[in-house]
């Protein structure tokens, strides 16, 4: 009797559950950049389609249990009734109550299976991008793929640029510790493990910027290891590709930027590569970060000003207003605005100068010269270079020419 009454209550809570989940949705932020329930591509959509019903079922079951317990509390509270019969259970009831959740989970399991294998496919890839994690930034390199106009490898960091509607496959690895690559709007996360190559499918439906965050704890500045995926239309992507492969343009003689170039050659090329940059004697300036940085690499700064962020996407290269302008641009206009890059009027000079002045102060990094014994004197992260203000002026002027 009691059991029947219990099951008859199944219907009631369903409406309760519906209203409950409405409440839950209403209680959420609008436009949270890393919202996992707002898929912007088919991979994330696949996950979302799977999790929505699971959450609903879980919610309903939760409400049923709560209702039963609540009823029992109300109904069987000690009101002086005699000590009840010492019954030890009803096996039939228990078996059925065991089988029902098992069946529900079996159904969920079937759909889960399919999604797992679909999300692991690699044979339908249209564009491959190598992604390498490092404390605390990501390096992207685009292998030669003639069908995309990539005839020599493009190397970049901070922002992953990809064409919309394209099945992109990230080949992830790491140079030091384990990181995890996660753009919630495009797919779930996948760890970048040193010594291994892991794959992650990404596909964006519309142009725009999708935010992400390293989600495997990777040491001191883990919280500051962010990433942004920039989706461009095919045409815009082709333009971006062409620009990335364009030859280096040295600043004009006599300008502040030219002086900045020599400061750069003195101070920065030990670690940072700018493809095509030549020394005064005409030789190529090849960075040797492996001699100075523990992980063996520092971000490649070629075409720096085509990116919107620097220092592992911790800081914006654009002032807030200019950045909002890009981020909130309509899909159609987005590509053009993004490809416009950073000019002097939009440059976030404050953060850039602070970074150049003393990098470890604005981003926690293992750059204390006193603590370098375990890394054979090599830094992890950018050290304080002790630049003078005028050097910083010159460098900023020079960096602005890297477009």
């Amino acid at each position: 009797m009691k059991v029947r009454r219990l099951t008859s209550r199944y219907l009631g809570p369903r409406s309760l559950a519906a209203s409950g989940s409405l409440l839950l949705l209403a209680s959420c932020a609008t436009n949270a950049p890393q919202d996992t329930w707002q898929p912007k591509g088919p991979n994330a959509k696949m996950i979302d389609d799977l999790q929505q019903p699971v959450f609903a079922v879980a919610g309903i079951i939760g409400i049923i249990v709560a209702a039963c317990v609540g009823f029992a509390i109300w109904r069987y509270k000690d009101r002086g009734q005699p000590i009840p019969e010492q019954t030890h259970g009803k096996p039939a009831l228990e078996v059925s109550l065991t089988v029902i959740p098992a069946l529900i989970l079996a159904v969920v399991g079937v759909f889960t299976f399919r999604a797992i294998f679909d999300l692991a496919r690699t044979d339908d890839t249209q564009l491959v991008i190598n992604v390498t994690g490092q404390q605390w930034w990501w390096e992207y390199d685009y292998p030669v793929q003639n069908e995309w106009g990539i005839t020599q490898p493009i190397i970049s960091s901070g922002q992953l640029v990809l064409p919309i509607g394209t099945k992109v496959l990230l080949r992830e690895t790491s140079r030091d510790v384990i990181h995890s690559y996660w753009i919630p709007a495009l797919n779930g996360k996948r760890d970048a493990v040193p010594g291994r190559v892991h794959t992650l499918r990404l596909q964006a439906d519309a142009p725009g910027i999708y935010a992400g965050q390293c989600t495997e704890f990777c040491g001191l500045s883990h919280a500051n290891m962010r990433m942004e995926a920039v989706a461009l239309s095919d045409a815009d992507f082709a333009k971006w590709v062409a620009n990335q492969q364009a030859a280096y343009q040295a600043p004009a003689e006599g300008t502040l930027a030219k002086e900045g170039e020599s400061v750069f050659l003195n101070q920065c090329v030990r670690c940072h590569q700018v493809s095509g940059l030549k020394r005064a004697d005409g030789s190529l300036a090849i960075a040797a970060p492996d001699e100075n940085v523990w992980s063996g690499a520092a971000p490649n700064l070629t075409k720096l000003m085509t990116r919107n962020t620097f220092a592992g996407a911790m800081f914006n290269l654009l002032r807030d207003a200019c950045r909002d302008d890009v981020w909130r641009a309509e899909s159609a206009a987005f590509g053009e605005k993004y490809l416009g890059g950073v000019d002097e009027s939009c440059l976030n000079v404050n953060d850039l100068r602070a970074w150049l002045r003393n990098a470890p102060e604005v981003k926690p990094m293992y750059a204390n010269p006193a603590l370098l014994t375990d890394t054979n004197g090599k830094y992890r992260g950018m050290p304080n270079l002790g630049l003078s203000e005028s050097d910083i002026d010159k460098l900023v002027a020079y960096l602005l020419t890297l477009k």
Binding site: L169, V193, G195, P289
Partner: protein, 379 residues
């Protein structure tokens, strides 16, 4: 009070004092002899005091029966340790350390034995006290040493005789052990002396064989391999020795998630990479990061993959590798071993310099297969 002994020592110390004075007066002052005589004076006076104190041994107490102090191996062992110690001082530190260990162990055993013998008046109890203290240490140590000697001897035998003889002798030895064990099991009432005798003969035989084996040295192939170095093959060309580690090709290729699988099939070399639907002739590899290639040979002849490590503009090599680095004919190369058809082996390379820093590109080639080359592009 004053008896013969104390009188003797007092007299001697008096004589020493007299000598000291005479020496200082007649020979020289504050010389080594003076110092020594003072010490002798002190020592004799001390002895005199002791003899006075112990009343010259004229003690009516019932003496502890000195005969109770039974035989002991530890004086001899201590001396063995001392000899090792002095040999170590001269020859090699290992003997010195061994000597210290032996001396300390012997002294510890000696002390415990001495302590236990005076622990109570019951010899059985004393012996059990000693055993409770020392057996937990002695048995494992002795067993380890004994096993170590047997195993080491056996290994010397096995290393000295040929492979097939080794197998045969192993089978024979194992059968013997089984047989004798079975006999023991069938006849549990065998005399302990017989059993221990057989065991001793067996152990002595093995040790003797081991000594002989050590005298003979390694069999030829092992000697050759040892000389050459197990993994060290100087050239990426022809194998010098057929005794390289063939298992390496199986283990290393088990590594999952490699950057690329390089296949040699029908005389063509191509790279299979996840994400690329067709075999590639160009691999873009991340800089300053270990890249693992797996080489699979489908060619009927034994082949190896050779990676050129470039020629750095600076003096340092442009890449590091766990493979067999070679520097022949001025080339900076690394390679897998020769692997037969159907086998695979991994090769991990870390490219520290970009391709643009090279005058010639990084490549992967297979010697003997002309015109097939995969370029590794390092941005």
């Amino acid at each position: 009070m004053f008896k013969t002994g104390s009188k003797l020592f007092l007299g001697l110390s008096g004589f020493a004092a007299f000598n000291l004075v005479a020496y200082v007066i007649f020979v020289e002052r504050l010389a080594i002899g003076g110092v020594a005589l003072s010490l002798v004076f002190a020592a004799l006076t001390g002895l005199a005091a002791i003899v006075l104190l112990i009343n010259e041994g004229d003690n009516e107490r019932q003496p502890r029966d000195a005969a109770l102090i039974g035989a002991s191996l530890w004086p001899l062992t201590t001396v063995v340790g001392i000899v090792l110690l002095i040999l170590g001082l001269i020859v090699a530190q290992i003997y010195f350390i061994l000597g210290i260990v032996v001396v300390l162990a012997a002294l510890a055993e000696w002390l415990v034995q001495a302590w236990s013998e005076s622990a109570s008046d019951d010899p059985a109890h004393n012996e059990s006290a000693r055993q409770r203290l020392l057996h937990p240490i002695e048995f494992p140590v002795i067993a380890t040493l004994g096993l170590g000697v047997v195993i080491f001897s056996f290994s010397r035998i096995m290393l000295a005789i040929s492979k097939s003889a080794g197998a045969v002798s192993f089978i024979v030895a194992a059968s013997l052990v089984l047989l004798i064990g079975a006999l023991f099991a069938l006849r549990p009432a065998l005399k302990p002396a017989l059993v221990s005798g057989i065991c001793v003969i067996g152990a002595v035989g093995i040790v003797a064989g081991g000594i002989a084996g050590a005298g003979i040295g390694l069999r030829s192939d092992l000697a050759e391999a040892a000389e050459e170095g197990h993994y060290l093959h100087r050239e990426c060309g022809v194998e010098k020795s057929k005794y390289f580690d063939k298992k390496a090709m199986k283990n290393l290729s088990l590594r999952s998630n490699a950057a690329a699988i390089v296949e040699l099939r029908d005389g063509k070399l191509s790279a299979i990479m996840v994400g690329f639907n067709t075999p590639q002739q160009l691999i873009t590899a991340s800089r300053a990061n270990p890249v693992t290639f797996i080489f699979r040979n489908f060619d009927p002849t034994e082949r190896r993959l050779v990676a050129s490590l470039g020629n750095a503009m600076a003096g340092a090599p442009a890449a590091e590798s766990d493979g067999e680095e070679a520097d022949h004919a001025g080339k900076n190369e690394t390679c897998t071993q020769l692997i037969p058809k159907g086998a695979e082996q991994a090769l991990t390379i870390k490219y520290n310099k970009p391709t643009i820093a090279q005058t010639e590109p990084f490549t992967l080639t297979v010697p003997g297969v002309a015109g097939q080359s995969i370029e590794v592009l390092v941005p």
